[in-house]
């Protein structure tokens, strides 16, 4: 496995440069940069695609681009379909001897473009078995258009289309378990990662890029604007998500699941701490909504237990 040493990384070129227009504290560019650093270590050329969303908008404001790799953007619903076409063309050209480079393909998408409108094209690309890695940066709502709920928005969170007030208490539905849906395609590599564990995230990216066939990494991407916390706390938020088991870090290699981080015995933090840290859950801490916190805790526990059981 190639290096993830800080000393080596410091000498490498970021394939996503600074100077883009992401909000202060946005975890998205951190995720993208780490993944691209890892992909680069494979000694292969990287070609990317990206769905419409925060990262697409803030990195490609014409005539500038923050990408140091060939990058294609099409529409909102088709990052996976677009990279399918590019990857197929590459294979055809390679077969004819018109390309000799070793090229790896990475498709990026936010949660809106992956969990919701892009799910169909993602599923199709996985099923066809294109040789690519799909990276979802999951900031748990449509942040680019002004914080609308998505399939990835957790239960109880406030968004501009899942209001919190005297009648409603934020999003009433649970978060869609996209990683499990993707894993059900039976592809060779699926992982959930987080930007606070950089080495884990990079190793997962290395594995995915090195693996033949479709691979998928779902990365939690804390959003200060949408989640309502201070910009300097983004990595803390990511850490808290893992420590409360709201966002477990795990990978599934050829069907074998392994959990990459487990809180020490008795040290699993209550979900209350996670909810308390963000303004989007503020309304839950009222007598009327307090019971929801327990419901959310139970749901987190249930999923965590199921994960532990599956690993065993």
């Amino acid at each position: 496995m190639p290096t993830t040493k800080l000393k080596d990384l410091a000498n490498m070129t970021d394939l996503l440069s600074g100077g883009h227009a992401a909000c202060p504290g946005c975890a998205g560019p951190i995720v993208l940069r780490l993944i691209l650093l890892a992909a680069q270590q494979e000694g292969a050329y990287v070609v990317g695609s990206i769905a419409t969303g925060c990262m697409e908008v803030c990195t490609t404001i014409y005539p500038k681009s923050a990408w140091r790799i060939p990058m294609i953007h099409n529409a909102f619903e088709n990052s996976a379909a677009t990279i399918s076409g590019v990857e197929t063309a590459y294979r055809a050209l390679k077969k004819k001897g018109k390309v000799d480079k070793d090229i790896r393909f990475i498709a990026f998408g936010g949660d809106g473009g992956t969990y919701d409108i892009g799910l169909q094209s993602l599923s199709g690309a996985l099923e066809r078995g294109h040789n690519f890695t799909y990276v979802c940066y999951d900031n748990e709502a449509y942040m680019n258009t002004g914080i609308q709920r998505s399939g990835a928005t957790p239960m109880g969170a406030f968004t501009t289309t899942a209001q919190a007030g005297t009648v409603a208490a934020g999003k009433a539905q649970r978060k869609k378990d996209l990683t499990a849906i993707v894993a059900a395609h039976g592809i060779p590599y699926v992982a959930q990662a987080s930007p606070h564990r950089t080495r884990d995230l990079m190793q997962k990216a290395q594995k995915a890029v090195a693996t033949e066939g479709p691979c998928f990494i779902n990365v939690l991407s804390p959003c200060p604007r949408g989640w309502r916390f201070k910009p300097e706390d983004s990595i803390e938020m990511a850490k808290l998500a893992a420590e409360t088991c709201v966002w477990p870090l795990y990978e599934i290699e050829d069907g074998e699941l392994s959990i990459n981080y487990k809180p020490r015995e008795g040290k699993k933090k209550p979900v209350r701490e996670w909810l308390k840290s963000q303004g989007r859950f503020r309304h839950l801490f009222t007598p009327r909504n307090e019971h929801l916190i327990e419901e959310i805790q139970q749901e987190v526990d249930r999923k965590w237990e199921a994960l532990l059981k599956r690993e065993a």
């Binding site: 529409a75 919701d116 258009t145 002004g146 609308q148 289309t161 209001q163």
Partner: protein, 345 residues
């Protein structure tokens, strides 16, 4: 309030009780306003997982007899076209608000009228038309959306409110008291449970040979009736005009300012004809004026789409010119005045 909010408010006052939408700039205020208010007024708000899902939710809601609406902006409305065609084919009333932005493709979020063809020619597959209302003020965003529901139910047809990023985002005072709850339309065709009556069938599929042609003829007769009865336009200073400007929506707002300028800055008396319905198009009204003006200037925020309808209406009675801006650019009053002077001065 903003134009987007006014559209949402007008819809609710017209009795809209089902809304399905999907985020896209510059119309997100409609979704947010609907999410805020519709459930409190006994309606259902759904944020769909895509534009396709949203428009097809309308197919279900409308078939059940409920007043329903979706909104989007140009790329999103492109995605909805299949659903709109199905609504038209099945004769289901629904309202689609398009706060259009500049294209083609992802384009930009600046205001545009580049969807004129898509809106007035049907947009999706097959022979159909949707009445299209073009507001140029925030007040009209509310009123036209309200009116759209009445037209939709009257003709059992989808109706488009064709705004743009400018009228959607701008804020103006709005009078709403006159938008009272409308008299409910009888919908004997709706799927409300067939107990005690023969069953209703809502469909666009007609597999029996010859049946589809008959259905199409019926649709065309309906469209002819709409053309006879629902043409709407506003004429300003047209009676004495030597020169006519034709513009709608945001462009009409700007042109209205120009025609009020002192005559020394203009080539004679300039009138403005503003189509309120883009389809049916005010052909007769334009033709009448074309008999006695020196020429027509069409002002559009696209490459020149409505100008084709203006030329069809004018039929060579006088020269028809075009002032166009594209890609999110908006013509200024001075640009329009300068063009008028250059052409007719």
């Amino acid at each position: 309030m903003s134009g987007n909010e006014a559209a949402a408010e007008g819809a609710m006052r017209a009795g809209c009780r089902f809304y399905a939408g999907y985020p896209i700039t510059p119309q997100n205020e409609i979704i947010a306003y609907m999410a805020d208010h519709l459930p409190l007024r006994g309606g259902v708000f759904v944020q769909a997982e895509s534009e396709l899902a949203a428009i097809n939710m309308l197919y279900g809601a409308s078939a059940a007899g409920v007043r329903c609406m979706t909104s989007s902006s140009s790329p999103g409305v492109s995605l909805k076209q299949e659903g709109i065609s199905y609504l038209a084919g099945s004769e289901l009333p629904a309202v689609i608000v398009n706060i259009s932005r500049a294209g083609p493709g992802l384009g930009d979020i600046g205001p545009s009228q580049g969807d004129y063809f898509q809106t007035t020619r049907g947009g999706g597959h097959g022979d159909y038309r949707c009445p299209a209302l073009a507001p140029s003020t925030v007040q009209e965003m509310a009123e036209f959306t309200y009116l759209a529901f009445e037209l939709a139910d009257t003709y059992r047809n989808p109706v488009v409110v064709q705004g743009d990023g400018m009228v959607g985002q701008m804020m103006e005072p709005v009078a709403l008291d006159h938008l009272r709850p409308p008299r409910p339309h009888q919908k004997p065709w709706a799927l409300t449970g067939a107990a005690g009556r023969p069953r209703n069938i809502v469909r666009s599929f007609r597999g029996v040979k010859g049946e589809l042609e008959k259905h199409n003829i019926k649709l065309q007769e309906k469209y002819d009736e709409i053309k006879r009865t629902e043409v709407r336009c506003v004429k300003i200073a047209c009676e004495e005009a030597d020169v006519l400007v034709v513009a709608y929506g945001t462009c009409a707002r700007i042109a209205r300012e120009v025609i009020a300028w002192p005559p020394r800055r203009l080539p004679g008396r300039v009138g403005l004809l503003r189509p309120v319905t883009l389809w049916p198009f005010p052909c007769r009204q334009i033709a009448e004026l074309a008999e006695r003006v020196r020429g027509v200037l069409t002002v559009e925020m696209n490459a020149g789409q409505m100008v084709e309808d203006v030329r069809l209406a004018v039929e060579g009675r006088c020269p028809v010119h075009l002032l166009r801006r594209m890609g999110g650019a908006v013509p200024t009053a001075r640009e329009i005045a300068d063009k008028l002077v250059a052409l007719f001065g």
